[in-house]
Amino acid sequence: MLEVRGVSHSFGGLKAVDRAEFTVGRGEVVGLIGPNGAGKTTVFNLISGAIKVQEGTIRFKDEDITGLRPDQVCLRGLARTFQSTKLFAGMTAFENVRLALMYGNPERSFRHKEVEREVNQLMASMGLLADRNKPVRDLSLASRRRLEITRALATNAEMLLLDESMAGLTPLELTQSMQLIGRLREKGMTILMIEHVMQAIMGVCDRIIVFHFGRSIAEGTPEEIAADPTVRTVYLGE
């Protein structure tokens, strides 16, 4: 579904991503891990169009999306969340999702009642109905992270890029979040997630890609990655 081929990006003299290569298949949940500064978020920014690819190509559903703007990438079915949640703080949870539903589906003409019904359904399925009319600033961190995923889903996404969506959660919230990812996988959603919480990565991912100095150094199932000596050296510090 997603192919990243020889993608590079430098910030001045610093090569943040260096000929990165990996693929994500339809319906897969893939984890992207690596030490801080490994270039994981930069890869997300390159895929989602937030920054320009300087070298290489990115294909999504067999279409070249290299150099597209973020809104164009989103309208092709690839949505993302952010490391620090980027919600519209002056709006309610409902308004955040409604806006994504309206702009993420430009081919549809919505009626007021129809929008309300769809947003309510989506929020209910994500366990957010109780927070529906709360301003974003009044939501807990777990609800904010969940709302950001809901907003991404409202754009009719077929693939999600989740950037540390479990960081800072309590053990209970973490379990709920992992269950949520499991439910999304059952519905056929393709997910590429950056995560530092090893319990989550090992628990929900089909495959893990390890990044170091802007490129993939290992790839495999959670068990293979846990046993990989290179990964243990550069990432786990053993």
């Binding site: 989602s48 937030a50 989103c74």
Partner: protein, 325 residues
């Protein structure tokens, strides 16, 4: 709760707006000539302030290009007056404002924060200097006389433009585009990642708001009758709408209008009563107001409205008690 508040606000606006416009239409029959002239100034600034608020209010992009767009409208009238009806000139002024704003928008709206403010201010200065250079080298003189129009005609035109600006600002604020503009103001990156074509929405809304500024410039040229680059592109025409909008409060549609009315009346009073201390007193008043009312007059109005509702509810309860006895 928020949605019900919004709906009631929309309903209130649908009643108050037509009433206000009807009142403005019949005002010349009820007020003196000097009051009518003051009202023209109020309406002119209200159009500039509402237009500024249409784009800059939700997005937080502080544009200082109002004087450029207004001045362009003035020069359209100066060049075309006498060759065609004033209504057509006003339309051309509006279209010219749109085209200039489109160009300014394409050049500047990829910039953010202070860079955008400086660029719009710089572009205004650039246009002013180009016009001055052109007039000096090819016109032979810096200023131009413009065939005047009667106070009644000017009043009618600014009233129509004000009504149009008010209705369009209201429609934009409560539309899909308005929501997108608010999202851009809240977080531009997130807005782009949910499918909003950020640059297109910003540029087109900025250009649409400039139609009213350019058209008003064309009308005011026939009221002032003599113009030159320092009058047409006066930097105060860029700064005052910002001050008036912030003073009134941009969260509600009536905020910028309230801010405009109070500040124009205050300005008129200070110019008349204290001509030598006018700018000093005006500046001091603004500082005091901004420090004491950071949310603008709208916040004060909301507090009073809330107090009045509480008092009214208490009064109703007392009446009920008395009736029961």
């Amino acid at each position: 709760m928020l949605i019900s508040t919004l709906l009631s606000e929309q309903k209130a606006a649908l009643v108050v707006m037509p009433l206000g416009i009807i009142l403005l239409a019949i005002a010349p029959a009820l007020i003196s000539d000097s009051a009518q002239i003051t009202l023209i100034t109020v309406l002119m600034y209200a159009i500039l302030t509402l237009s500024w608020t249409m784009f800059s209010g939700p997005t937080g992009y502080v544009s200082l290009a109002t004087a450029a767009l207004f001045g362009v409208g003035i020069y359209v009238a100066a060049l075309l007056r006498g060759t065609m009806p004033i209504e057509v000139i006003v339309l051309i002024g509006g279209l010219t404002g749109f085209v200039f704003a489109l160009a300014i928008g394409i050049l500047t709206l990829r910039l953010r924060g202070v860079y955008f403010i400086l660029f719009t201010f710089g572009i205004t200065a650039l246009i002013r200097n180009v016009v001055q250079w052109w007039e000096t080298h090819f016109g032979g003189t810096v200023g131009r006389h413009v065939l005047g129009a009667s106070n009644e005609a000017v009043y009618l035109l600014v009233t129509i433009l004000f009504a149009a600006t008010l209705v369009v600002t209201f429609l934009v604020k409560h539309s899909r585009v308005g929501m997108a503009l608010q999202a851009i103001g809240e977080n531009q990156d997130a807005a782009a990642h949910i499918g909003i074509h950020v640059t297109r929405i910003k540029v087109l809304t900025f250009a649409a708001s400039a139609v009213f500024v350019g058209a008003t410039g064309a009308v005011m040229a026939t009221r002032w009758r003599y113009i030159d680059p320092s009058i047409a592109f006066n930097p105060l025409l860029s700064f005052l709408p910002v001050v008036m909008a912030i003073f009134g409060g941009t969260s509600k549609l009536y905020g910028p209008i309230l801010g405009t009315v109070v500040l124009v009346v205050l300005q008129d009073f200070l110019i008349t009563e204290h001509p030598y201390l006018y700018l000093l007193l005006f500046g001091l008043t603004l500082v005091v107001i901004v420090v004491w009312l950071p949310g603008g007059l709208v916040v004060l109005a909301q507090k009073w409205f809330l107090k009045a509702r509480i008092q009214w509810a208490k009064l109703q309860m007392q009446v009920r008690r008395v009736r029961r006895r």
